[in-house]
């Protein structure tokens, strides 16, 4: 079963067609790298797959749920790291994640281990998020995604603003998630890093998905196992 199945999906932001007809199929345990220039629609594509936006036309099924009707069900099973971290400035790191955990019916005890995985030191956990640096904040947001153990990870520039150690942690997290059978969509400009990770690469331009420009086939296949996909 495809985790993501979009057919000619059009998504409007106001009157602007941010996605102008996307065809995309993603299978379980794939790590798909979305690349493309600024304003191409990568972030919108991720938010759309998260069930936050209504399709204007076309068909869109994510995790078996139709995005026209059952967006709440999709939202519950995905983890989205957006441009903004969606954290409350006036709550501490722990309080923020405990809120997320309780809302998602996850044991609050797991907050500690999620923060451990992202290397958020114990010293920072009782600090209000508003006082964190941009990089620390992003780590906390990533811990929030990891905490929920989503079936579909949607990461928008996960490496941005992180130090070397943080980037390594992100890569480890993504690899681990895929190994556990989760599916990952990553939008990144950090190609060197993201390429190593991805099992497939997709170009997003003009709000639509085009055949990969460089390889001509849209597949990164380090082991050379899978057949080439012609478009």
């Amino acid at each position: 079963m495809s985790i993501v199945a979009l057919r000619d999906a059009v998504v409007l932001l106001g009157r602007f067609p941010a996605l102008s007809g996307v065809d995309l199929e993603v299978d379980a345990a794939e790590i798909v790298l979305l690349q493309g220039p600024n304003g191409a629609g990568k972030s919108t594509l991720l938010r759309f797959c998260a069930g936050l936006l209504r399709p204007h036309s076309g068909s869109a099924v994510v995790l078996g749920h139709d995005l026209r009707e059952s967006r709440p069900a999709v939202r519950r099973s995905v983890g989205l790291l957006g441009h903004d971290t969606a954290l409350y400035d006036d709550l501490t790191v722990t309080e923020n994640l405990q809120f997320l955990a309780r809302a998602s019916r996850i044991e609050p005890e797991e907050v500690g281990s999620a923060l451990d995985r992202l290397g958020v030191s114990a010293r920072l956990r009782d600090v209000v998020v508003g006082r964190l640096s941009a990089g620390q904040r992003r780590r906390v947001a990533l811990a929030g995604v990891a905490l929920r153990r989503p079936e579909l990870w949607l990461l928008d520039e996960p490496h941005a603003g992180l130090d070397q150690g943080g980037r390594d942690l992100v890569d480890g997290l993504v690899a681990e998630a895929a190994a556990d059978g989760a599916t990952v969509l990553v939008a990144s400009h950090d190609l060197d890093r993201a390429l190593d990770l991805a099992t497939r690469r997709v170009s997003v331009v003009g709000g639509t998905v085009t055949p990969d420009a460089v390889g001509g086939a849209g597949i990164v296949d380090p082991l050379g196992l899978s057949s080439r996909q012609e478009r």
Binding site: R54, G82, A86, Y88
Partner: protein, 222 residues
Amino acid sequence: MYTDIWLVADKDLRIEWRSRVALSQILPFALTVLVLFGFALNANREVLTAATSGLFWLTVLFVAVVAVQRSTAIETADGARRALLLAGIEPSSVFVGKALAIAVQVLGVEILMVGGVLVFYGATVESFPLLLATCVVATLAIAASGTLLGALVAGVRARETVLPILLLPLLAPVLIAASRAFDDALGVLAVDGWAWLGLLAGFGVVNALLGTLAYGPLLEET
């Protein structure tokens, strides 16, 4: 459902308590308005006594507008609204939770304001139960309609100005009913305060019901 309501209310109150906005800004604002009414009415005891209930509740409406704006700002900053959606909490629980948090804050301000009118306007309380019941019921009604409209204007560019022009006319019956109930409780007018309380409750129920139904579709529109 109750755990979600509590979760949201607890979060909002915690944030408000941390930022101390209610304490350090809304409360002084309310007391300032009460004092300014005193100046505007030439500190005339007779006029002030007659007008106490109305001035009190008018001030509460202003406080409510500010409190709703704060409550909305919590969710619009840094895409936190999206976090609420992704967390999968039922929108109706978010609505009730946020409304309760607003109600607690406004009620706290009201209690101190009662002290204010006793001191500045020389008001006397005839019926404490009626006074308290009016505060609780009216505040819940105000919080319900305020929370609904707060979510409604969250995505509007000019939300600071749109909120009061939508909220204040809607709260006109609350102003009338709560002021009359207070008139009775303060012994200013011989009216049936408890009947007015019933009207307040009716207003609260109708708008809370609309709020629980409409909050989901509103949250969905980003």
